[in-house]
Symmetry: C2
Subunit: 404 residues, 2 copies
């Protein structure tokens, strides 16, 4: 008997079907999950039930066991929360949204206590790594178990001892490098692929370790930690951060996360002007897929940063010109490209053992609704082309005389 | 007895109330309007009824007579259509949306027949002028009778003879100049305030006159016509328009409307790069009021224009830098401004006979949901400050440490 994942399972009943005789039946779990989950998660049963009915919580099967994925926040449970039902119920909370400040002053003093820790924010994708039974899995921000990320995380790091000793902890970090399939960005110290841990959090409660505890634990197990720029008095932080953010930007890096060293206050993020332009450059390479959503917030960040940095005429001009180029140049390149008969898309490279593994990853992408095709597999590298259909279609229409 | 405009009037009944005895009663017009309107407008009665129920068609009183305003398209009736019920039912159709092309080639050849007329598109606001009974009124794009526009139109132009002879025609044009309260833009030949006619259309059918008929009729009555750049063969138009649009842009003017000389094919509009930046400059002076809606389409226009103009490196750079400056500089100015305790807003000047007239105009603006105050009245000029509240509030919040 297997759980029938094509049916609407809920907190109180699962549909089963027999693979040999096609018998289908419904098994009621006597409110077990209902009561139990309510107790563990501190979310009302009605809220959970409503979220299941509206598809905000999805059931899925993971290696024969039932699991739940939270597609949006439900009560205190963050988007991306996943729950595995094995002998034990394992709750891996979604990574909490880090809020952004547009102004360093007065926010730093308003928001933090006496000291802050500055960590570098790197440009990759957010991954949580946890052990479920005797398996170690890597979960993306939205709560999917990515097969490629899982494999790479285990290749890059020796995680066994850490999770043997700490089965109730979750490692939160950034997957980086040019051979990651989501946000490819070159870092000299990372190269093809790498991982940097920024948080260690507890299962169920999502409680983070302090900077000190986290650093010691990661050092003990030889795991790679994100760069700690320093711990500073709040009073001296403003000028330091201004300097740091300019340096970080000038070498094409993203930004910083400002943390309470004890992690009792939620962290804040702040990013470099060059990072804003990088994102605009990407968005306007595929304007009809990303332009509208990306644009406004990046431009607003630029406005407040220029204001706070008290830039002179030359600095302002440089920032404005860089902004204009970031928006216009990639768009024109893509129009030219589509006009010559190409599709708007990007190639991503992943490192896989065989063509099958590449196909598995493609299936995974298709399930997420991403249109991608394998275009080459050679010497363990698979080149996958991700097609941006809206941009391709709309540009094709306009250059053929379609009206706006 | 008066029509009670506080009640839900419909096509088949009006609520009346007596101003002396407070008697209220409902008068059923025996489907008169229902059948009659259906016949005149060629819109199904059910559609009209539905639009009235959902507030898309609003009833209002105009000088004691009932009237209807279409807030959105209903069947073939355009947004901004107004209908006056007097001895006669007068239908003034909304001004049809002019579609835009992002590419001149191949659109010109696809869309038009052998010849095209190029008219200048000027930067003001769209006004329809018509006679209703023995009155001449000026109606804004969305279908409001603007008291200031009506007064100015009658001051600027001698319209009586035209409407005496042609009561079934509607004059469509642009109100221009620095003393118009909606889109103040300086034109050397216009100065404070001026009007240019671009279309003459029939009541009820909205049928436009050909370029030739329109020109002759306007000349006969001495009415100001928008600049006709020329009439060209479609085959030679591409290079001419490219040249014209660059010239128009280089002197800070807006663009062109490309028309079929017989007006049988819908016109198309095309605008200069400088006009796109002008609009962005305005939008990013009040980023949280207009930024999000304005941005994307203007930037897309720039991308396609740069591509079609086959610009070289220097021209492209100039366009990109101008774009960046148009977005960033006004936003920083406004942040500075709000940081020093001012509100984000703009002063508009109108020319009025007395303070009462200015107050009337303010009431009219308030009814439209615009927040504006009279800040000065001196020598027939009223200075009105239009406040952009979202921009003021959001910037104030962020510079006080509000998180994004």
């Amino acid at each position: 008997m297997n759980i029938d994942w094509r049916r609407n399972n809920s907190l109180t009943h699962f549909f089963f079907h027999c693979s040999t005789c096609d018998l289908e039946s419904k098994v009621v779990i006597e409110n077990f999950l209902d009561k139990k989950l309510h107790e563990i998660l501190h979310v009302k049963a009605e809220k959970l039930d409503h979220a299941i009915k509206t598809g905000i919580i999805k059931f899925f099967e993971f290696h024969g066991f039932p699991a739940m994925q939270f597609k949006k926040d439900v009560g205190v449970m963050e988007t991306g929360t996943v729950i595995y039902f094995r002998n034990k119920i394992e709750v891996i909370r979604g990574f909490p949204k880090i809020r952004r400040t547009l102004m360093l002053s007065p926010t730093l003093k308003n928001h933090f206590k006496d000291k802050i820790a500055l960590e570098e924010k790197m440009n990759g994708y957010n991954v949580r790594i946890a052990s479920i039974g005797d398996e170690i899995i890597a979960i993306t921000r939205r709560g999917y178990v990515c097969p490629y990320t899982t494999k790479k995380a285990l290749e890059i790091m020796d995680l066994k001892d850490f999770f043997n000793d700490n089965p109730d902890l979750v490692i939160c970090g950034e997957m980086l490098g040019t051979e990651n399939p989501y946000v490819a960005h070159y870092y000299e110290e990372v190269g093809d692929i790498g991982f940097r841990v920024f948080d260690i959090r507890k299962k169920v409660s999502n409680e983070p370790m302090s900077i000190k505890e986290k650093t010691e634990l990661l050092e003990k197990y030889g795991l790679p930690i994100v760069r700690l720029i320093g711990i500073y008095e709040v009073n001296e932080a403003l000028s330091i951060i201004k300097k740091v953010i300019k340096e970080i930007g000038s070498v094409g890096r993203e930004g910083i996360v400002i943390k309470d060293p004890s992690m009792e206050i939620p962290p804040l993020k702040y990013t470099s002007s060059e990072a804003h332009d990088d994102e605009l450059r990407y968005a306007f390479t595929y304007p009809f897929d990303f332009g509208r959503d990306f644009f406004f917030s990046r431009v607003i960040r630029e406005g407040f940063q220029a204001f706070e940095m008290k830039e002179n005429k030359e600095e302002l001009e440089k920032r404005a010109h860089r902004l204009g180029e970031a928006i216009l140049y990639p768009m024109i390149d893509t129009i030219k490209n589509v006009a010559s008969g190409n599709t708007a898309g990007e190639n991503l490279i992943i490192d896989v053992a065989n063509a099958e593994e590449a196909e598995d990853f493609l299936h995974y992408l298709h399930d997420l609704g991403v249109f991608a095709v394998l275009i080459k597999f050679e010497g363990n590298k698979a080149v996958i082309r991700k097609i941006h259909q809206s941009t391709t279609d709309k540009i094709t229409n306009y250059i053929n005389g379609g009206l706006y």
